[in-house]
């Protein structure tokens, strides 16, 4: 699930690209090029998100039940963001679309801004804790009637939400720089990389420093009792060198991708920053789940906190899921193959004609 989650964060470049629609596209043709560029990738992000949710259901049903059934409003708003996205690419310029082109573009902004921000804030609660209790039968009850809205009252959660939002925008600009063959948009994308990478770094650094200095939710491996341990997450990195190396390598790659796009005017930055994003997020998931750590802590009743051990499916189901996961390399293979086939030619203004022989969003 960590791997799927990591890829999901990388693929949020689609959402980031959506938020840049009005900044990078100043006329109808430019906007259409941007929509068609990211529109050919939106289903990868969407499907990865669905897989992440379904995978959590299959692998960690207690997390699925506790978080989705408790942080109810937060997940419902998140859902609406993605429902709106699903129709917007296809309906945006279609005749008879009822709401008009600008509304569907508005939906893409809503998905891009709110979807990424909420996802980041929700992941931050894996460190800061959520307000639930779990009974003897593992049935959980949320302790506030805000049902997840309260996660926005914590600045650490907000900081990761904003970091993910600006990261998605940075990746979106890097992707469009690579995918569109139109100098005006490429120049604007380069500027946006600078404007968004800076706030991303500020919020990301704030979040990581906060996480390194905070007390974390540790689990006694013998008694399974959960307790607060000072500098738990920093200790996890220090005690798990693999995670630390992944983190450092990931951060360097993200910065390198941004750097070559700005200073060397390269359009290959997305591949470095994208890979770096995957490695960094993967390492963050490692310090959340491994080394006797609670990955979904309860701030209401610490012993209700979820760990990999108590939240996971039975061994039999996990084995079955492992066999099913053997398909993943096949999937990655055909995604790579089709991605290359469809991106052989970059997005050009000529392809955006409604009367062309191509399907155009």
């Amino acid at each position: 699930m960590s791997v799927v989650g990591s890829f999901l964060v990388f693929l949020l470049f689609v959402q980031g690209g959506q938020t840049l629609l009005g900044v990078l596209g100043k006329n109808e043709m430019e906007k259409t090029m941007i929509v068609n560029s990211i529109g050919r990738k939106w289903e990868f992000t969407f499907t990865t998100l669905v897989l992440f949710a379904a995978g959590m259901f299959a692998s960690f049903p207690l997390f699925y039940a506790t978080s989705f059934g408790g942080a109810y409003y937060a997940w419902k708003i998140f859902l609406i963001c993605f429902v709106l996205q699903a129709v917007s690419f296809e309906y945006r310029r279609k005749k008879g679309n009822l709401l008009g082109q600008k509304t569907y573009e508005g939906f893409l902004y809503v998905n891009g801004f709110l979807g990424t921000f909420l996802l980041g804030a929700a992941v931050a609660t894996f460190f800061t804790g959520s307000s639930f209790i779990r009974n003897d039968y593992n049935l959980s009850t949320w302790q506030t009637e805000l049902y997840g809205i309260e996660i926005l009252f914590n600045f650490t959660n907000i900081s990761l939400g904003l970091a993910i939002l600006f990261l998605a925008r940075t990746l979106g600009a890097l992707y469009l720089l690579n995918n569109i063959n139109y100098d005006i948009i490429r120049e604007r994308a380069r500027k946006q990389i600078i404007f968004n990478a800076l706030p991303f770094l500020v919020f990301f650094l704030y979040f990581m420093i906060r996480v390194f200095l905070m007390d974390g939710y540790a689990v006694n491996p013998d008694t399974k009792v959960v307790f607060m341990e000072p500098y738990k997450y920093l200790n996890n990195y220090l005690q798990m060198p693999v995670a630390l190396v992944l983190f450092l390598l990931g951060v360097v790659l993200v910065l390198y991708g941004i750097g070559i796009a700005i200073f060397k005017r390269s359009d290959k930055g997305i591949w470095f920053s994208g890979s770096g994003t995957i490695l960094t997020v993967l390492s963050i998931f490692f310090i959340l789940g491994f080394n006797n750590t609670s990955f979904y802590p309860s701030s209401s009743d610490i012993q209700s906190s979820l760990t990999i051990e108590n939240a996971s499916s039975s061994l039999y189901t996990l084995k079955a899921m492992t066999y099913i996961s053997l398909f993943v390399p096949v999937i990655l293979g055909y995604i790579f193959f089709t991605w290359r086939a469809i991106d052989k030619g970059k997005i050009n203004p000529e392809d955006m004609n409604d009367n062309s022989d191509q399907h155009v969003y």
């Binding site: 949710a53 419902k76 429902v83 309906y91 089709t338």
Partner: protein, 517 residues
């Protein structure tokens, strides 16, 4: 396990799921059926080089794309609603139910979403063969997706391959293949996928009939009717054939659903199959009113269809509620009291585990295993509440079957008339072609009502009641999100229908100098 059950929360949660499922199902059968027809048309184009077949494939692919987007959007709501609105169910069944959903994501969604990009954007950009293979992979992906979600749904109707673990208080999978290959799963998949083929075909037949009525796009319309008519006829016949299998499975494992489907209150041997009838209004289990105001039945047919024996005993609603000693059926009251003993033993087991009392733990576990099979019944207070809504299921079932036979006749007739080149001779033939599409939807929706409402009051048949499956949240939260989603989805559905109508009115793209007649 559950201290307080708020029925308004249960009903609004059911309402929210039903609303999103109904809207989702408006689009999914079209996706399932149309992909194959697009792939077949494109195959003929690749084989013959005839550009008219490619134009045909492109036109239907365009409508498919409009439909696909909202199908995807409504699908994610349903998937996550298990967590948001049915969190107790998600925990209690997640060890089994989650796996097919994850398999669907890994095996089917990626296949569909990856190759749909080639299908939409690959015309002229990739080789024709690669494009054609992509069309088939999209079709295959849509069917594979249906397989996994229907496996999960079938398990709710016929829970197999599992054991209840009192330590975790959930059902756990012990046999993946039993879940995947259960007769319910296989039959449900075949029945539903065939209905998707039929509905997708009737959609194409309806639009093609409209083109012919308007005397435009004649070649495209006739060719479409031939492919869709053939596909629709095969699909409809297959739906009927697998319908028998569905009813057989229901008779074997869901007697309350069967009793509701047939309006059967008093069980007996050699029971007839009601072809048409009117239930006595206000009829309740245990009362003296006659079951029907009128009915026509085929003698002994229900016994034969349900048990492959003309003289087999078929239990009725009264037998299931009040018991039938002669046929070894426990009354609901007995099952409820045994279920309460199972729940108490489970609570005692938990208490003993927390206290470190090994003897108490073993005693409680032994007691629990004695009554375990009745545990789900322990949550009920009223014996009569173990039945689904009988009139609703009875009439829905007849609507489904009646509409199904009508569709077989229409598909066969229109196909024959098109092959004989007489389809345009009478406008009523074409109007019939248009009418068949909404009728196909009515049949399909009625089928889902029989399957899902007929399973009530259970989410997992005989193991987990619906009222225990909901999330522990307040009704206001569910109400608020119900209306929010209803408003958004209605707006999007109206937009979808309008876009579709505009695209149909515009028709296929005409190349300069080209003709479609």
């Amino acid at each position: 396990m559950i201290d307080f059950i708020d029925l308004s929360l249960v009903n609004w949660s059911r309402g929210q799921f039903a609303m999103t499922a109904i809207i989702h199902w408006l689009f999914i059968p079209l996706t399932i059926g149309m992909t194959y027809i697009i792939a077949i048309a494109q195959t003929i184009h690749v084989k013959t080089g005839d550009p008219e077949w490619e134009k045909l494939a492109k036109f239907w692919a365009k409508l498919f794309g409009i439909n696909f987007a909202i199908g995807v959007g409504t699908g994610i709501i349903l998937g996550l609603e298990f967590g948001t609105n049915w969190s107790n169910y998600s925990w209690i069944s997640g060890d089994i139910f989650g796996a097919p959903l994850a398999a669907e994501g890994i095996m089917a969604f990626f296949l569909e979403s990856t190759f749909i990009t080639i299908m939409f954007f690959g015309w002229g950009k990739v080789s024709k063969k690669f494009h054609l293979v992509s069309c088939y992979l999209v079709a295959f992906g849509a069917s594979l997706s249906a397989l996994w979600i229907l496996v999960a749904n079938a398990w709710m109707n016929y829970p197999v391959g599992m054991v209840f673990n009192p330590d975790t208080a959930r059902h756990e999978m012990i046999d993946f293949w039993a879940v995947l290959l259960s007769p319910f799963a296989i039959n449900k998949f075949l029945h539903t996928i065939a209905s998707g083929f039929a509905i997708g075909s009737f959609f194409i037949i309806a639009i093609s009939s409209w083109f012919l009525l308007k005397k435009r796009n004649i070649l495209l319309a006739k060719r479409s009717i031939i492919i869709a008519g053939t596909f629709g006829l095969i699909g409809s016949l297959f739906v009927a054939a697998t319908g028998d299998g569905s009813a057989y499975n229901v008779a074997q494992h869901q007697p309350a659903k069967l009793a509701a489907m047939e309006g059967l209150y008093n069980g007996s041997e050699g029971v007839g199959l009601v072809t048409i009838g009117m239930l006595t209004p206000g009829k309740k289990v245990g009362d003296d009113k006659p079951d029907f105001v009128f009915r026509h039945e085929i003698p002994k047919a229900l016994s034969f269809l349900g048990f492959r024996d003309f003289n087999a005993f078929v239990p009725g609603a009264n037998d299931l509620v009040y018991g039938n000693v002669e046929h070894g059926i426990l009354s609901a009251e007995e099952r409820i009291s045994k279920g309460k003993l199972a729940l108490k033993a489970l609570a005692d087991y938990k208490t003993a585990v927390n206290a470190g009392d090994d003897i108490g733990k073993n005693n409680a576990l032994a007691e629990f295993r004695l009554y375990e099979e009745h545990m789900g019944y322990g949550h009920f207070a009223d014996p009569e509440s173990i039945l689904p809504n009988i009139p609703f299921i009875f009439y829905s079932f007849r609507l489904m079957v009646g509409a199904g036979f009508f569709l077989i006749a229409v598909a066969g007739f229109l196909l024959f008339m098109t092959i004989k080149n007489r389809i345009e001779k009478n406008k009523w033939f074409l109007r019939l072609g248009i009418l068949a599409f909404p009728v196909a939807f009515v049949a399909s929706m009625a089928g889902w009502i029989v399957a899902e409402v007929g399973r009530q009051p259970w989410t997992i048949q005989d193991f987990l009641p619906t009222m225990v499956s909901v999330s522990n949240i307040n009704t206001t939260a569910v109400l608020l999100t119900f209306w929010m989603f209803l408003a958004i989805l209605i707006i999007l559905v109206i937009a979808e229908v309008r876009i579709m109508l505009f695209a149909i009115k515009k028709g296929p793209e005409q190349k300069k100098g080209g003709s479609n007649v």
